[in-house]
Symmetry: none
Subunit: 209 residues, 4 copies
DNA sequence: CATGAATGAGTATTCATTCAT
DNA sequence: TATGAATGAATACTCATTCAT
């Protein structure tokens, strides 16, 4: 009715879409994807049910969009953390910090992602992308441990990955009760002890060998 | 009197109940509890939709029963592994072996359990039981690390817990691609390296060796 | 297995059938026909579900049988009460007493029957029979009031019928709180006052006519 | 903004809700609450199965709503009939007329209500309300008979109640075959005959006349 | 004759999605 | 563009009835 410029419409669109996504993320994360209905999202976002379908093809598409953004943001953050780090140990510490910062900053994203990781039949293509990214990271970590001269770089990489994921899983489950910062410090200390200093660290202290 | 003896009926019941439970476990684990319908279970078990209700009060009761059995079996296995181990390091190794054996033997159980751990609004009383068991184990591990003379037994206990859970999560997600046995060996070796010998060890103290 | 004579079998049959019927009546009356399951009846009667179908074709047949017996018993009782009463007022009093005695003695029957009377689609042929019997009674009552010289025998008959059914309905709903005996006495007194003595009773107290 | 105005939506809602309620009432009354399925209501109302749940929380809520409206309407009608009547006999006549008018105007409501009165386990809170209302009426009637100088006001009140309920039950069961209007006139005449004139009358007082 | 395991049609209810306006 | 009423397929669960033994 009232004359609105294209920009205004576009701004409204952006805002509505963003609201919907953010509300949906929160609900998906806290109640689970299956237990969150479109009606609930619409109500919480203060829009009509029908409007959702102007922005997203389906509930699954909404989830898809949210996840993709999270993954990209995560990748971006990781990238940033690793920039200009050429020392393997530094890289490892960077990955550690980046991972923990990520799960801390985007708690809802990761809670949702983790929950979905254990459900088949949901969003297989997101899973594929995720798996590829994870594989890439694992490979990078593997190569770092090689550079660090670890005896069994593969197992060491898996172990490190298990630590990171284990910590994240615990944090997601326990929330603020979990001593996430202390753990971060502790893990980094351990890494330094093993691989730092004169490289005389126990595990992978290999160069002396 | 009855042309079918009590024993016959009992045998039939046993068999049907077992079939339903096993089929349900498999489907719950692979597709998720919420995404598995009674119809699907019935079809996969080659029985009628209604039969489940001869054995279980509800879908939730079916899940409940399955989980409780898994938990008890798990507790039993852990008990067994820890019998007659009074040396702290031995205990730790026992826990490691038991945990990994458990997730290996009862893959579906643990996949299901893990998935449920990340879902809200499901089977809260099982969650409660599980949390209590986990707390007990954490406390035991904490006390083990105290006995082992760890400087920061709490963080060390959390770290060890993160490793175990991280490994299990990876195994659950990757399946047979994951080098579970190698990881077990590696973790145990690490434990021995850290705390073996005079027992005064800790990570990175390696130079004494 | 053990040799049993035909008579023994027959006796068992009789007993089982009677038990089932009596248990079913009680359950139907107290919980309603639709809310009573075959399983519940079988359990309460201490027989197997399957056995029921040896005696009755279906749940509906069971109800049917129960109702028919009740109706016949009712008719018999009425007959008895009316025997050898040739004075119209006596007949009316007899019907009153018989009706009230019936509902009192066979409380469950009448509770069930009343409940079913307000449900369509149940046992239409029983309804038909019942309606015929009621019509017969109404006609008889009508003729009694004619003999008593009532001005409007039809309406008087309906009024009397309404009183009887109203009392029964109240009794069925209130149970022992209802002063059934007092009401019986009162109604009979009223009848005598109206039609008794020289026939100068109030209503239809024909001398004014 | 919205191409369908609030008023339009409201009108649609009103209409749909009214249709569903009216169709449901008819079916509940003729087939019984338990024997009427949501599917049947939807089919008869020419709407989808799910639509009912846009307006009512459950089948029970639908029944509840229907009954409450009937009860309120009934109470209102009774009130109206009793306004400005201070003479006890007039009151009694008013109650009579109101009751009969009510059952005549809202045949389906009262058929349903009566049927439910004989069913266990249905809508207990409506039953409670109804019982309270009935008790209030009974007390009022009792007090009227006291004022009228009846010798046994309690029994007389019960008798009158039985007449009213008996007539209603007959009308509900026989439908238009029942001479409801004639009965109304007749009952009122009887009341006048008994208690009219100097107001000193009571049943059986007739011989003094 | 007697059992109770098994069946499957039927029930109430939910919810992603469509569509007239 | 935005609304929310309407749809209908899907879900968990019930229960009269059948049947192998």
């Amino acid at each position: 009715m009232s004359p609105k410029s294209k920009e205004q419409f576009e701004a409204i669109r952006q805002k509505s879409e963003a609201t919907i996504k953010s509300v949906a993320l929160e609900l998906f994360a806290s109640k689970g994807y299956n237990n969150t209905s479109i009606s609930q999202i619409a109500k919480a976002a203060n829009v009509s049910k029908g409007l959702m379908y102007n922005y997203f093809d389906s509930k699954e598409d909404l989830l898809h969009t949210i996840l993709m953004e999270a993954i990209e943001e995560g990748a971006g953050a990781m990238e940033e953390f690793l920039q200009n780090r050429h020392d393997p140990l530094d890289e490892l510490i960077g990955i550690t910090k980046a991972s923990i910062a990520m799960v801390k900053t985007n708690f809802h994203y990761w809670k949702l992602m983790t929950a979905l990781a254990f459900q088949e039949n949901v969003i297989t293509d997101v899973k594929d992308i995720l798996e590829k990214k994870q594989e890439a990271i694992i490979n990078q970590i593997f190569s770092i441990f090689e550079h660090l001269g670890a005896k069994q770089p593969k197992l060491e990489a898996y172990l490190y990955g298990a630590i990171l994921d284990g910590v994240m899983v615990h944090y997601i489950n326990m929330g603020e009760d979990y001593p996430l910062d202390e753990m971060e410090t502790y893990i980094i200390e351990e890494l330094k002890r093993k691989y730092g200093g004169g490289g005389e660290g126990r595990i992978g202290r290999s160069k002396d060998e």
